[in-house]
């Protein structure tokens, strides 16, 4: 079984993000970039499925600038077999990414596509669902467990009320939640092996996809600073404030 894993290059989660002075976006100059943490979980899940003998090949795919090769190389060091970069310098919307991924899915015909549930830069939480709609495959989003049985996959989803398990026919789309697994570290032998693994670069036009966006970012602002907390003298005072001021209990 072939698994396609999507990975995104984002600002590292430890970086304090700054908004550009002209409010046109986030300042990316000299900022450390990494693989989106949810995508790391997606790669890890694919690698575990391969280790169990369920998957035979893992293809990592990313859409982004040339520098996104770094994140693909990391995916290869974590256990992916080969990588595809759809190279684009544009700021693409979730729909454009989903269309490009659909084109890669058509080309590669994977049985399972695993994506992070969202990227930590824009937090859209859309690409997996859009890809499912475009490809017509079943979707198991916010996965905390993935079990492949024959030509079906059982996905346990994290939902507001608890957990829900859906049974999907393969091929299917899965998006990962935080508790699905704990990603491994890239070991030095695997980092060295990753150098020799193949990486293909494609352009959106080669895939026949138009990435013209219907969305325009008007303004980006930093959230308002949190106001200082207060110290209360007793539990009674705390309960009183929660009840009468905050009105949360």
């Amino acid at each position: 079984m072939k698994i396609l894993v999507a990975v995104k290059r984002v600002v590292d989660y430890n970086v304090k993000v700054r908004v550009k002075a002209d409010n046109s976006g986030v300042d990316l100059a000299n900022v450390k970039m990494s693989m989106n943490p949810f995508c790391e979980i997606a790669v890890e899940e694919a690698v575990r499925l391969k280790e169990k003998g369920v998957a035979t090949e893992i293809i990592a795919v990313s859409v982004g600038p040339t520098a996104a090769q770094e994140q693909l190389r990391t995916a290869l060091a974590l256990g992916a077999d080969r990588a595809i970069l759809v190279e684009s310098t544009e700021d693409l919307s979730s729909l454009s990414i989903a269309k490009l991924l659909k084109a890669v899915v058509d080309k590669e015909q994977p049985q399972l596509v695993i994506l992070g549930k969202q990227a930590i830069d824009s937090d859209n939480n859309q690409t997996g669902q859009m890809l499912a709609a475009l490809s017509g495959y079943g979707q198991g989003t916010f996965a905390s467990a993935v079990v492949v049985e024959g030509d079906r996959v059982k996905v346990t989803r994290e939902i507001d009320g608890g957990a829900q398990t859906v049974d999907l026919k393969l091929p299917a789309i899965v998006t990962t939640d935080l508790r699905l697994n704990e990603p491994r570290y890239a070991s030095l032998p695997n980092i060295m092996k990753a150098k020799k693994k193949p990486m293909e670069t494609l352009k959106p036009e080669e895939l026949g996809v138009s990435t013209a966006s219907t969305l325009k970012t008007v303004k980006v602002e930093a959230p308002a600073a949190r106001s200082a907390g207060i110290m209360v003298k007793s539990v009674d005072e705390l309960v009183d404030k929660l009840k009468n001021e905050a009105k949360v209990i």
Binding site: S34, R73, Y185, S187, L188, I191, M192
Partner: protein
């Protein structure tokens, strides 16, 4: 000059960074420091499993042929977590000495273990009155038939209390401070005639005094000709310490800045006071100067031995020592009393930085060494 890391170096740095960040919380470090080993054996195992302990060794010896840059990347991350494990002592110093001096059989026997982390080695060079002078060796080595017998005392052997093998410098010829006549021996610390007195060092690590009373040692390299190798490998270890100090300084600067932005006095955060802003800027300036010197040291650590290499390594250690102590002391001043408490991580960073500024030569020692090279 292009300082950009290769993709492999970036991934290596990310692996080390993530590992330290996940596995080395302040609480876990405290726990490891108080354990019998004085460091986390679990973390040491992880370093081995991920191949990080194999980095500097040649590929034909089971390593990855890493250079001073790879060592720098790992040491910086270990410095950020003020990790207690004797990585420099075992992998860089002991591993380097065995690679340079060892016979094929000795390399085969020991390096695979060090590279996998299964063997932790230590190096005993200092003596009671040596004061950073690597040629000041009073421990004696006498040949008895095919055996070498060692007598003397070695001090502050970091990691020596848990080491599987200890490399000991001893004199088989010449006077106390002669460079000729110094040999290096592999000592099994559990063999007859070897006694260790373990103690904690001020930075939360553990080391030992090593007493040798007719102890047997296996010669590493040629008899009486080990000084050049010891001096060369100490240079590689100095570069590693510089990198570790930079990692620790960076974190200490960050937490000091956070404190200035949080702590309120006279109704405003203390970072609003210009005099404190100036002091914070001076700390970061010192850090940046030290970073440049640590990169220089890493770039020439594995170069061929030369007077120029030694001079530049002394210059680097001098600058880093000064910066380390400056950042440590200023951090304490800017924090006030809290920076002296056991419960605050900043205190432990400061102590480690002070310790690094004395390991393998303090600033006076390296300033003198640098001046001597200039006038030579």
């Amino acid at each position: 000059m292009d300082f950009k890391l290769t993709e492999e170096q970036q991934m290596l740095q990310e692996t080390a960074e993530r590992l330290v960040r996940d596995a080395y919380t302040f609480t876990k470090r405290e726990h490891a420091s108080k354990s019998e080993a004085g460091f986390s054996t679990e973390f040491w195992k992880q370093l081995g499993e991920l191949g990080l302990t194999a980095i500097p060794f040649p590929e034909e010896l089971g390593g990855f042929g890493g250079s001073g840059i790879e060592n720098m990347l790992i040491m910086q991350e270990l410095g950020k977590g003020i990790c207690l494990e004797p990585f420099m002592e075992s992998v860089i110093l002991a591993g380097g000495l065995i690679t340079q001096l060892g016979s094929e059989a000795q390399k085969e026997e020991l390096l695979a273990g060090i590279a996998s982390g299964e063997l932790q080695a230590a190096v005993a060079l200092d003596e009671l009155h040596s004061h950073y002078d690597l040629s000041h060796v009073t421990t004696t080595a006498t040949q008895q038939g095919s055996d070498w017998v060692l007598n003397g005392r070695k001090g502050v052997v970091i990691g020596g209390h848990t080491a599987g093998k200890i490399l000991v410098s001893a004199r088989n010829a010449g006077d106390t401070c002669d460079q000729q006549g110094i040999s290096l021996f592999i000592v099994d610390p559990n063999s007859a005639g070897v006694t260790r007195r373990t103690y904690a060092t001020v930075d939360g690590r553990k080391g030992c005094e090593l007493f040798l009373d007719n102890a047997k040692g296996e010669l590493l390299g040629t008899a009486g000709g080990a000084y050049d190798a010891i001096s060369y490998q100490a240079g590689r270890a100095i570069a590693a310490l510089c990198a570790e100090a930079v990692g620790a300084m960076r974190v200490l600067c960050d937490i000091t800045l956070d404190y200035l932005k949080t702590r309120k006095q006279f109704g405003v955060v203390i970072g609003k006071f210009q005099v404190l802003q100036h002091r914070m800027v001076d700390m970061v300036s010192a850090l940046e100067r030290a970073t440049s010197m640590a990169i220089l040291a890493a770039c020439l650590a594995d170069d061929e031995d030369s007077a120029e290499r030694s001079a530049k390594l002394s210059a680097a250690k001098f600058m880093v020592n000064r910066a380390a102590r400056y950042v440590a002391e200023e951090s304490i001043q800017l924090h006030g009393g809290i920076a002296m408490t056991w419960e605050y991580s900043g205190a432990h960073y400061a102590k480690r930085l002070v310790m690094i500024s004395h390991q393998l030569g303090d600033d006076d020692h390296h300033l003198e060494a640098y001046a001597a090279q200039l006038s030579a």
